[in-house]
Symmetry: C2
Subunit: 596 residues, 2 copies
């Protein structure tokens, strides 16, 4: 049975020593009470909950799976009691607004806790995530709607699934057909079918409601994404006193049988003249939805880190315990019939690839979570603008790069187990199956890459990118003569300069032929990710080196940083070439020749 | 439901136009009757069988799975009838020796058919593979044993599982504990437990026997791999008239519940004083086993190509059919609400990555299969020696590189399907689950890499490598001014030169520190694979360009070749850097720090 240990020391190191969060929060009144002691104690409690209550559900939930009865989802029974405990303990409310019952603590805290929960049991944790829906309602809906729905969403007893995708169009929301007809009472009658709706319904909580955020088209609206509006469609209508009223005309058509995440219900949702309430302006649903997209993508991006983290922990422990063959430099455990496989360089290479991704992306994730906090609560408008730019730039990198690297990492974890990794009871293959979805849902890597390159980088003439690369450059310049990390800082600075040059080159070549943009996009996203993680690795290395007392923890940070620079950052060498290869050999083949 | 189409045109192109097989076979008497017409007609029949009889079993076999009853395996019932047809049609006998009922046709033919069968249904096909066991018996056993066991193995009605791995040691065969005590009648009493035995038992064929090849230790034998002998342990003892006798003391302890290949029984085999017959010389079991290792590894290496091939076909068809978004260069299907996703450069990048691997590795595989034929049947000793060297060098590359790239490819196939790739009924996720084992069994990628770098390359002072690189160089020199492929040939020649330089560098650095060998090994294997596929791509491009008549097929070959040189071969740029990074940042961390 797999193990999981909450990475508390790493959180505290990153939040305090690397990101200097408490200093940054000093001039934000909302966080005047937030200090290391408070954060440490909450993280420690959350870690215990993840380890003791959530992690034991992972394999069981996969076996029990979900089913549909009478148009409603029956979730894995083993999830019920822990979900009640989770809600009762207030874990859903931490970083939500006090106006609706939240505790107003930093989203940073939520970010860390979300990673632990996803590591412990992704399928369970997906039911608990409604940050994006809450944000969308908070930023778009009328006060009446906020007062009616937000308190129970924040409390965690109502679900808030996002219902965008339809069978005929997938990610292309311009093809949405679900229609919403205005009614005399100001509500809308919603009719259509949505699919791939994570947690569209569940029976985990008694007297629960499901507050669905549904994209639909009002009759007469323009074609494409310019004619889409955002609605709330509750499973049960809500009376004025907040109690549950009539059952709305929504039902679960079916759930998908998937490669993994068997404990998480992926629903086809049917709306047959269901009552809905417009929360965006008419035809402005896409803009309203984008208010929640950064958060939703952030959380799924974290799934890459989370899955890699737990897979790494299990692989590392296995590599210590399992004995096979002798070290190339002579026996290390002469009393045993063979050495533990951790002596083999290639096993270490697999483990350090995972570890350097896990810890590097964790620092990246927490940095981004802190941006959400500064954006929401800083009183300095320039700082807010800067945070918004960085968030817009970094979200597609975080989502795309983390889920791709997370996938690579969990597979290395399985590989360390050899044949035993392929066996269900050891749990490694479940990490692989569960995490395969992460590079797909909330926008595939291809979609993130176009969002990054076309919308965030080129459409802003590189403005957002320059904000981030300037920050990297300042840090590198400051540390270029640092006795421990100076060499890394110089290498990073060169890679960052190259990043900007490549951006210019793509921009020029895309003007000649827009397909060059698409052809370079994913490689560009990955290039961006490697440089970004390089930045967080130098920052961690610098913070570790500058600690007064060197410990096994700081030592391991420095060693992993060096590994990242030796073995992972050089992946940019290939990407540089493929980014420059253009689109000719990609576009020349006739469509029909692909099935020759 | 997934589709599968046998790639007959590609086989004929590679076998005849690229490898010039019929000319090569002219001076081999065994193949005097082998010509294009014969080969084409057999491949065409085999293709039909794979498409019509085997492919429909893939999803069903995954659902039905295997179970154990009374120490025997119950395989998926849907496999029974097709297995009978497969055997009745004589497909198991094609390339086996006529002395034991085989048809003595080229192994090349077998290689191609095996790829098709593995594409159609890997789990089913694994029951049909016994080439390695037949080779081991043929090359090691007494005439009496050969006469007793080979005819029914060749006929395909008896199974021939290889039983090496034990729970305590995994791939480290030096740790084998199974003991074989000499008996008065010249037989041995075998006691122990083996695990991960693919098709250790099955009920697919009535009156079947399972002829297990078991590695075990005779009392008093030296420790480690120098004290291991190879035995035949039949499930049923065989009477002198060839009929089945007493049930031997063997049983299936359990079968594994796996990530994939659910239709293939992976058995724990127990031997409780089972009667066994020594077929190697005493304590020379490892050498005897190596007689079969090249063939077994070849077949599993093909699994990478096979899985990628069927996944590619389905992804390409889906990309033509599915419509989402508009082309970056303006609508391509203005009458439809969106364009087919094949217009998007990144979808094409995913597809061409798969395709360039599939076709490149197919040419590589068939080249290697032809080496087996020349080794076995050529009458020219120098040619045989050369073939043996090439086979020894190329087998670990074929196994390691193909299974890693096959894994990457099937995942690209799933990605093209987006969310629908994650759904079981569409079949893409099964290709992913089924093919994850390929980089593990028959020796993990790490083990292949050490075999390649330490045993095949460095221990021979680069002799084997030079044979292959000289062949590449001659081809490149010959074609350096070729108007179509000249540029590719020059690029390949540079990469080949760099391959030799890197080999020298690793050799030098390994003398200083043997861990540098292990640290470079997998990257070296991958480097070798990219250059090797580059060689087969230039050869295919040249053969396509030199065809009298250009067709959509030859055009697609040239375009895919260019894609390979633009987008895949540049991966060597990163590998060059990581190979040179040494082992310091891999080995410095204390073992205990890995679980910090």
């Amino acid at each position: 049975m797999p193990i999981y240990q909450a990475p508390l020391e790493d959180y505290n190191f990153i939040i305090d020593d690397v990101l200097d969060t408490y200093t940054c929060f000093k001039d934000i009144p909302q966080f005047s009470d937030v200090n290391r002691e408070l954060m440490e104690s909450i993280l420690s409690e959350a870690g215990k909950f993840a380890e003791q209550e959530i992690q034991p559900l992972n394999q069981l939930g996969d076996q029990q799976g979900c089913r549909v009865e009478n148009g409603e989802v029956i979730a894995p029974p083993c999830f019920k009691e822990p979900m009640k405990k989770y809600i009762d303990a207030g874990w859903t409310q931490l970083s939500e607004s006090p106006e609706y019952g939240g505790q107003g603590l930093p989203y940073l805290l939520n970010g860390a806790i979300c990673e632990m929960n996803l590591s412990a049991c992704t399928a369970f944790s997906l039911y608990g995530i409604r940050d994006g829906s809450i944000a969308a309602i908070e930023k778009n809906a009328s006060q009446e709607i906020k007062d009616k729905y937000l308190p129970k969403l924040v409390e965690g007893i109502w679900g808030g699934p996002m219902c965008m995708t339809e069978p005929q169009g997938g990610s292309d929301l311009g093809l949405i057909k679900t229609k919403a007809e205005p009614q005399a009472d100001g509500s809308y009658s919603v009719t259509g079918t949505k699919m791939f709706i994570t947690g569209g319904d569940s029976d985990l909580i008694e007297n629960s409601n499901s507050i669905m955020l549904v994209l639909a088209r009002i009759p007469g609206a323009p074609d494409g994404i310019k004619g889409i509006s955002l609605f709330i469609v509750p499973k049960f209508l809500v009376n004025d006193d907040g109690s549950l009223g009539e059952r709305n005309h929504t039902s679960v058509g079916s759930i998908e049988h998937k490669m993994g995440l068997n404990g998480s219900a992926t629903c086809v949702m049917n709306y047959d003249g269901a009552k809905g309430f417009l929360i965006s302006k008419e035809n402005k649903g896409m803009a309203a939805m984008f208010a929640m997209v950064n958060r939703s993508r952030y959380l799924i991006g974290q799934q890459g880190t989370a899955a890699a983290s737990v897979a790494y922990q299990n692989a590392a422990q296995y590599a210590l315990d399992r004995i096979q063959f002798r070290s190339l430099t002579g026996p290390k455990n002469p009393d045993l019939p063979a050495d533990s496989i951790i002596v083999h360089p290639d096993v270490r290479r697999l483990l350090l690839t995972q570890r350097s991704f896990v810890e590097g992306s964790r620092a990246f994730n927490l940095y981004v979570a802190k941006l959400f906090d500064e954006l929401d609560y800083s009183q300095d408008e320039d700082r807010k603008t800067r945070c918004q730019s960085l968030l817009d730039l970094l979200t597609p990198i975080l989502k795309g790069f983390n889920t791709e690297m997370g996938w690579e990492s969990v597979n290395h974890g399985l590989q360390v187990f050899g044949g035993h990794g392929y066996i269900r009871e050891n749990g490694m293959e479940q990490f692989v199956r569960d995490s395969r979805a992460a590079a797909i849902y909330e926008g595939t890597t291809g979609i993130q890459a176009m969002d990054l390159l076309a919308r965030k980088v080129l459409a802003t003439q590189g403005e957002m990118l320059k904000i981030f690369t300037s920050e990297i450059n300042s840090f590198c310049t400051e540390n270029k003569d640092h006795c421990v990390v100076g060499k890394m800082a110089n290498e990073l600075q060169a890679a960052t300069a190259r990043w900007l040059e490549l951006t210019m080159e793509i921009g020029m070549s895309a003007m000649k032929n827009p397909d060059n943009l698409g052809a370079a996009s994913v490689d560009y996203l990955m290039y961006s990710g490697y440089v970004t993680l390089g930045y967080f690795w130098v920052r961690m290395a610098q913070a570790a080196a500058d600690k007064e007392k060197q410990t096994p923890f700081t030592q391991a940070k420095l060693q992993t940083a060096q590994f990242y620079f030796d073995r992972i950052l050089p992946r940019t060498a290939t990407l540089e070439k493929t980014i420059q290869a253009g689109s000719a050999s990609i576009m020349e083949m006739n469509a029909e020749a692909f099935v020759l």
